[in-house]
Amino acid sequence: MPTLEFAPLFWWGLPLAAAPVLIHLINLLRQRRVKWAAMEFLLASQQRYRTRVLLRQVVLLALRTLAVLGLVAALAQPRWRPAGGIAGGTATSHLVVLDDSLSMGDTTADADERETDAAAGDTRRATAFDRGRRVVERIAADLASSSGRHRLGVAVTSRLAAAPDAPELALPFTDMTPGSLPAVRDALGRVAAGDSAAGPREACAAAQRLAAGIGGPRVVWVIGDGRSRDWLGGDEPAASLRQIAADGVTLRLVDCAAEAAAANLTLERLDVAGGVPAAGVLVPVEVEVRNDGAIAVRDVAIDLREDGGGRPGVRIDEIPAGGTARRRFDVRFTTPGSHAIEAALPGDSLRGDDVRRTVIDVAERVDVLLVDGGVDAGADARSGDAFYVATALDPGAGAATGLRPRIVPPATLAATDLSRFASIWILDVERLDAAATTAVEAYARGGGGVVFFCGPRTRADLVNATLHRGGEGLFPVPLAGAVELLPDAKAATQPPDVVVEDHPVVAVVAGQRNPLLDAVRIERFWAIDRGFDAATQGVRRLLSLRTGQPLALEKACGAGTVVAVLTTAAPEWNNWARANPSWVVVLLELESHLAQLRRRAESVAVGSSVTVKLEAGIDEAEVDFLVPPDAAIVRQKAVATSGATLEAVLPPTAHAGLVEARWRRLDGTTRQRSIAVNVDPAEGRLERVGAGRLQAALRGVPFRYDRATDVAAVAGDVGGRPLALPLLLAVAGLLLLEQAVAYAAGYHPVRRSSAWSPRP
């Protein structure tokens, strides 16, 4: 049933309703006495008007008492609550959505705020999350002391985003009384700003569904740090908040961030920058740092660790304000397996984004598949195109590249497991059967790198029909025919046949005229269809001929890359592979380029699940995951997905660090793999949205915005309909009516006339 609620002040003020009666009694005591002669007339009048006089007095007293009661009630914060719903009855339910994303760990403060750190037995600088926690405590205290029933539930954004349909509340809905405050504090003490990137944008939809399932008056509090990335761009969280408001829920937004601008450095990226992750081979790694401050930062030291051990760090001379800077360094691991690299910045106001990890899976050797069209099954593969490519990719002793070329004839391609190869080189193959074509295409689309060399065995009709397929297939361009590159008769000296285009593969030989590349002579090549517009088809040149025709082109295929070199690898149509060092350099760069996607270091974002793929019949179907921060073991069963592949999935992680997956093989050996879990570097963008832009972003959504320091008592916003103003208006009406009745009853003083007029 509907209820009318008042603050405790109402009950203290209730005795004031007796004031009119007391005043009436006091006035009776203060009456004047008159010795009167004409009592008979007075008594006659009293007899005649007794009822009317009594009625007026009663009405007057009642009006005055009601006015006093009304005034006391109006001052006692009255609220009218309609009948409650299924859950909660007539209580007002308050759902607090507390942002526990990484950015809430920002310690930028307007004042020297400190927070007690019970674990360390000391104090530390307060974070935005600490301020948010204090806001929740203040809300709880106000609800506990206000009149009426109030329930409080607290949810953190990371859990709301992780399980939007069945979120786990940090504090289940609890009736707010002074006795429940310790439980609130305990619950809040168990939550902290984590490494998650899930903020209001990710959590408000779940909050809306949660609030919609609650009956009665509701208030949703979104407490966060008001970052632009949470509120600007995209439909969320505006769409969810609009729905929340449309559901009749009162919306309060509280900003816990400091007004002072945060100057933050973020480790944006730590990744393998090429090379071959093989034992004993130098692998280039690149680190990128972003400066979100208003001024440039100089001489930034980056600490590096390999597999937990220290190693020399690197320095960045200057990072411009609002900009990024990169730095490369090399790592070399002598043993195969997962190797972790960790980079760390000096601590600043937000420490969570100052550390980043990556894991490189180092192999003994990295297999590269060479499909040589000139090799029959069982024939010697140490001649022809494959020989020259293999020699470049694996020169042999003294020049370890980490690559291990595997040469196969085209007929065995379909039966070969392509997934274990870093790249596939198809060298002057006359035809690929449908199965092989499908397998290679799948390999490329899955992120693999494929390179074609075209020579005398290449058949343009088959290439165009089965591999190019009008641009839908694997091969980047349609072939026209093999042609000779004639000397330039007009030139006094022959210009170089090969022109280097702007492409990272050939960047090492680009720039000034390179005598090694200038020495390359192309006698014959495959021309492409004149009507083909490479630019519009997304095809990019690596090398061109002096005639302007393409020599090497690249095209993306799904997630992978395909390169077509329109001449032979062997020195049959050209002299490149014959004792020209640039051949080795370019091929190694090409291999690195083709394999970079598959060779990318393993890293997932906090809040993502971690998947480990196993082989059915080889690996046991159970994986132990050691989860940061304390290496807790989570055992997961591996389930079959497709073919002979099993997958074990670790549920979404909550902390950054290294996840180690361990499992046993059927032969008794153990395997392990490391996966780096990193924070979302965007959490380091601490730019605040501000009240003005927030209003614009949430246009049409009724809400109240407060800074954390300004959130005072919630008495004015505890759900229900406030009745103070209507009651005050009613009291004013009562007082007017009281005056009218008092005038009619003769209680108003008369203005006496000093002149007398004799009666005739």
Binding site: R32, R33, V34, M39, F41, L42, L43, Y747
Partner: protein, 305 residues
């Protein structure tokens, strides 16, 4: 105040004259200026004697023959004139002690003071014309009284009777008037000065008795301004001066009913007085007594003519 009464002394000024005789004289002198003839004189065919002319005598009664012969003004007195007996009955009951209290601005005399002053004024007027004047103060019985005499020095006796300390008990009109009717030997004029707050049926029965005995009647009704206007404010406890009753009320709430009752009372008194051919005059304690006297005497004079 009316234009005419501006000439008269204000009631508070009259009240400050402590001696009733002097007070009456002040009232009469103020009144006489407005009078053209004595209201008490009638016409008779029986010549009785000459007497010296005094101011106020009707010039038509001046004996011009005597003036012609003796060069002095004399008037003819007839038998009826020398037989006027004025009996003044003044109500001295408790209800006559009301004077408006300290709240009265300007202060007013009590109803009794007003009645006594009026009675003394009438006595002085009548004695100055050679009429016999008797007086009595009553409440539940006739208390102080003086027989009718014609000597001018009798005014002091009348004033003494009026100034005698009173019992101020309850009024008993029928008893007093019956006693007066039996005590008066001859027909004359009886003037009752009272607030008439009592047994009105008994009052008019008594007056009827006097009328039956051939007396000429006049009723001077003295009431306080408060009793006529009832302008009270604020919680008040009214305690009866004669009636053993009290009432706590908001006076303004009862004013309309009170005034209606007073109006009915006055109307009833007037009509019953008229039925008895009794002169009636309502006198407020707040009005100048000379004006009230003039009003009464003028009315008498117009009736007499």
């Amino acid at each position: 105040m009316t234009r005419g009464s501006r000439r008269f002394l204000r009631p508070d000024a009259i009240a400050r004259i402590h001696r009733l005789e002097l007070r009456a004289r002040a009232v009469v002198e103020g009144a006489l200026a407005g009078l053209h003839k004595s209201p008490f004189k009638g016409q008779s065919v029986e010549f009785l004697q000459h007497r010296e002319y005094v101011r106020g005598d009707d010039l038509r009664r001046v004996d011009w023959k005597v003036w012609g012969r003796q060069d002095r003004f004399t008037v003819k007195e007839f038998e009826e004139e020398t037989n006027l007996r004025l009996t003044l009955l003044v109500d001295g009951s408790a209800s006559m002690d009301y004077d408006g209290g300290a709240a009265a601005v300007p202060p007013r005399p009590t109803k009794y003071d007003t009645a006594a002053t009026l009675a003394a004024s009438l006595a002085w007027l009548a004695l100055s014309h050679g009429d016999a004047v008797g007086c009595g103060v009553f409440d539940d019985r006739l208390r102080a009284s003086v027989p009718a005499r014609t000597k001018r020095s009798h005014l002091a006796s009348v004033c003494d009777a009026l100034e005698t300390p009173r019992n101020a008990g309850m009024s008993d009109f029928p008893r007093v008037l019956r006693a007066a009717a039996e005590a008066l030997p001859k027909r004359g004029m009886v003037v009752v000065v009272s607030d008439l707050l009592g047994d009105r049926d008994g009052l008019f029965a008594g007056l009827q008795l006097l009328r039956t005995r051939g007396h000429d009647l006049a009723l001077i009704h003295v009431l306080d301004d408060d009793e006529l206007d009832f302008r009270f404010d604020g919680p008040t406890r009214f305690e009866g001066l004669e009636l053993p009753a009290d009432l706590t009320c908001n006076p303004r709430a009862l004013r309309d009913g009170y005034l209606a009752a007073v109006e009915a009372f006055l109307g009833q008194v007037r009509s019953r007085a008229a039925a008895l051919r009794c002169d009636y005059a309502l006198v407020r304690t707040g009005e100048p007594l000379a004006a009230a006297l003039v009003r009464f005497l003028s009315r008498r004079a117009s009736v007499a003519v």
